[in-house]
C-alpha cells in the first residue's frame, strides 16, 4: 500500500517533457517533488502563475506570490503572472496538458465529486469544475477508500458532481485504474497489494484482464 508521497511518485511518471500541468490541492501538490529533472515541465496555478517553483527559503516569503492552495511559493526563470480570466483561458482553452486533482468520489462512467457534502461540508469547487469540464487529460489522485473504509470508486457518485464523464485515470494508494467505456480497468497494483484486495475496495465494476503488474516507482 502506498502513502500520499507514493501516489504522487507514481503520478509523476505520467508527466511528460513539454507539459503544462495544473496541480490541485493535497496529494497532487506533492507530484511536483517527484517529476524527473531531465524533462521540461511548467506548473500552472489557477490563481495566476505559470512556472511555479519550490517553496521560498525562510525569510523570503512574499504575500504577493502564492499558489492556489494559498501557500507561499517562488517562481522559476521564464515564469509569468496573469489575471484570473486569462488563467482560465489557459484552462478552458485546453492549453494546459495535464490536470491532476483530488476527489471524494469517482464513478465508473468518469463522473467526479469533490466539492460538497450536503449539510456537512461546503468548501466550494474553486477551479475544479472549469478544469474537469475542459481538460483532455485528467488524473485523479486519492486514497482508494474514505476514512470510514468505504470505497471511493463507485458505480455512481452519491455526492454532488464536479463534472460528468471526465476522469481518465485514477491513481490510489492501492492501484492505477483507467476509466474506460466498460468501467474501471485495473492497470497496476501497488506494491504488496493483491488484485483481490483491490476488488474488495472497489464498489464500481472492476475489469481485470490477465496478469496485473506491480507499479514501478
Amino acid at each position: 500500500m502506498l502513502d500520499k508521497n507514493g501516489i504522487a511518485k507514481r503520478i509523476a511518471k505520467e508527466v511528460k517533457d513539454g507539459y503544462y500541468v495544473n496541480l490541485g490541492i493535497g496529494i497532487p501538490t506533492l507530484v511536483a517533488n517527484f517529476v524527473r529533472d531531465d524533462i521540461e515541465v511548467e506548473f500552472q496555478s489557477e490563481n495566476g502563475v505559470l512556472g511555479m517553483g519550490p517553496f521560498p527559503y525562510e525569510g523570503e516569503e512574499d504575500p504577493d506570490i502564492i499558489n492556489a492552495g494559498k501557500q507561499t511559493i517562488t517562481t522559476l526563470p521564464g515564469a509569468s503572472f496573469f489575471d484570473s480570466a486569462m488563467s482560465f483561458s489557459m484552462i478552458r482553452g485546453q492549453h494546459v496538458d495535464l490536470t491532476i486533482l483530488g476527489a471524494m468520489e469517482v464513478a465508473e462512467n468518469g463522473d467526479i465529486a469533490n466539492w460538497k457534502i450536503p449539510g456537512k461540508m461546503v468548501k466550494g469547487m474553486g477551479g475544479a469544475m472549469d478544469l474537469v469540464a475542459s481538460a483532455e487529460n485528467i488524473i485523479v489522485a486519492m486514497m482508494h477508500t474514505n476514512r470510514a473504509g468505504a470505497s471511493k470508486l463507485l458505480k455512481r457518485c452519491t455526492l454532488p458532481l464536479t463534472g460528468v464523464g471526465c476522469v481518465k485515470k485514477i491513481v490510489t494508494n492501492m492501484a492505477v485504474i483507467e476509466v474506460t467505456e466498460g468501467g474501471f480497468e485495473l492497470l497496476e497494483r501497488a506494491p504488496g497489494v493483491s488484485v483481490e484486495a483491490i476488488k474488495e475496495a472497489t464498489e464500481g465494476h472492476l475489469m481485470v484482464r490477465g496478469e496485473i503488474p506491480e507499479m514501478k516507482l
Binding site: E46, P54, A85, R92, G124, M129, V164
Partner: protein
Amino acid sequence: MINKTVPNVSEALKGVKDGMTFMFGGFGLSGIPENAIAELVRLNIKGLTCISNNAGVDDFGLGLLLQQNQVKKMISSYVGENDEFERQMLSGELEVELIPQGTLAERCRAAQAGIPAFYTPAGYGTEVQDGKETREFNGKMHIMERAFDADFGFIKAWKGDAAGNLVFKGTARNFNPNMCGAAKVTVAEVEELVPVGELDPNEIHIPGIFVQRIFKGAHFEKRIEQRTVRQR
C-alpha cells in the same frame, strides 16, 4: 489627464449603501482591498451582496464583514478557510452562490467588456447548471452564464497614478484586473501612488479608463494565509 485621485478611503467609498452589490478583488488574502474592507466594517452597512473568489478568514479580509453580519449574500468559488462563513451558510443565515472560479472571473470580465452573457462547459451536468440555459457547441454541452451587475468594485493594485492606471504585483493580480470597470464605480487602492508619467505605458496592466477613484491605502497588512518554506 483626468484626475481620479481621492484623498482617503472615506472619500473613495462615498455612496456605498445598505443592500448594495460589491465586487472585491483578491485570491485568499492576497491582493484584497484591505482599506476598503476596513472602511466598510467601520460604516457597518448591512444587507450586502459580495462577489469575491473567497470569503477571507475568520478575523481578516471579508471575514470581518461576516463577523458583523453585514453580508446577506456571498458569490464565491471557494470558502474553505472561514469557519464563521461555513456556520452562517449551513445555518441558513447567509445566502451563498458557489460558482466555478473560471466562471466567476469571466462574469467579471464580461461585465467589464459589455458582454451580457456567455457559454462555458464548466459545471455542465452539476447543480451549477440548475435553472440555466444550456446549448451544444461542437458536440459539447455548455451553460449560459451572465455578466455580473455590481454597484462598486473594490480593487487592490501595487502601483497606480492619478490617471487611474494600475500595475499589479505577482499573484496579487488575480481577479483585480477583471473587476476593473465591471461595476458602476471602480475604487482602486494602491500601495504606491506614483506621479503621472512614471508608469511606463507599455507596462500598465489596467488603463485608467476602467477606474473612477484611486487612493493610496493607509495601511496594508498583507497577511500570509499558508506560510510554507523550505530548508536551506
